[in-house]
């Protein structure tokens, strides 16, 4: 699963949805794999407005990637900043989590990732 997915996922437990701590899920013991994908600036620029930037900064630092700027760039700034474009392309699209866990900051539930597939099915007592 690509790192970009983490910006769209939250804890699957209903009671956690209203808590700001259930997003983003925290990556733990993550094994990463890299694909080589040709840089497409338009893709990054079109993805930018739908990113939760603060959540992305958290994910990025948890996975050991270079610190992202505190404020998101404007599309215009991003277009002109080849380093940031490349960093975002690498983090969001080229990097995948193959094994590890995603942990809810509210309830502590751990969702296992195996073969790149996260398991959000809940044991029956949590549904």
């Amino acid at each position: 699963m690509k790192i970009l997915s983490i910006n769209f996922l939250s804890c699957a437990i209903k009671a956690c949805k209203s808590s700001s701590d259930s997003f983003p899920l925290h990556a733990k013991d993550a094994e990463l794999v890299q694909d080589e994908i040709e840089l497409n600036p338009d893709m990054i620029i079109n993805v930018l407005p739908r990113l939760d930037w603060a959540a992305l900064r958290t994910t990025s630092s948890e996975l050991g990637f270079p610190q992202l700027p505190e404020q998101p760039p404007t599309p215009f700034e991003l277009k002109a900043d080849e380093t940031l474009l490349k960093d975002l392309h690498h983090l969001l699209l080229e990097t995948q989590i193959s094994e590890g866990k995603l942990v809810c900051g509210n309830c502590g539930h751990e969702y296992a990732i195996k073969e790149g597939i996260a398991n959000f099915l809940l044991p029956s007592h949590l549904v």
Binding site: K2, S5, F8, S10, D42, M43, E115, I117, N119, L121
Partner: protein, 253 residues
Amino acid sequence: MLPTPDTSHVPYERVYEPAEDSYLLLDTLSSETEKTFLHEAFPDAAPLVVEVGTGSGVVISFVHAHAKTIFGSSQVLTAGVDMNAFACRATVATAAKAQLDNPDSYGMYLGSCMGDLTAPWRDGAIDVLIFNPPYVPTPEMPARPEAFTADDLADAAKPSFDDDSYLLALSYAGGRDGMETTDRLVESLPRILSRRGCAYLLLCAQNKPDEVRRRIEGFGPEWRTLMARSSGKQAGWEKLQVVRIWRDFAAVE
């Protein structure tokens, strides 16, 4: 006609095989009316397309592979959810093959995860939701075998016959009116769809599609539904149909 993704690698003894309903969704999404609707609904900011219950992955891989044709831009994000680990694994492979086969039009496939309907997604995250539900009326919902191991890919090298039967039943058995699962999905739409979001929902005649549409339109004055495509009439009924669900805020402001 856009080429259908190759699913020859999918283990059909435990993953739903593409059938008439899957192909009706492909026809719907590549129809001129829906292409026009999607081009206009998502002119910028890469939409996130999520298919719930991907099975083989034929539908979401079709959207991924033909993103440029369907949306008018290859900046389209796609992802899948299924309760069946094997369906998730199959979908990853189907998407990868479809991408190789359509080098000039594919979007960005983010991956697949296991989950119950829309539960793993953040509120308001989904721009286009696609659902081919378990719609067949059945006396009861499938029961999980006691020693079920097949939701853990690492332990599921050899699922038992009971596990396989359960996994297949999940893909079609819909309980009362064939609507028990679809009802839960419909209830989640106001939470899960983005403001500009829409959903494509497949229904059969026994699901009482007119009632389903009325219920959705009852969510609020901005909610709209439309029969986007049908498989043709049988004894006076549309056997299968795809309903497009969206909100029109401009009309109520």
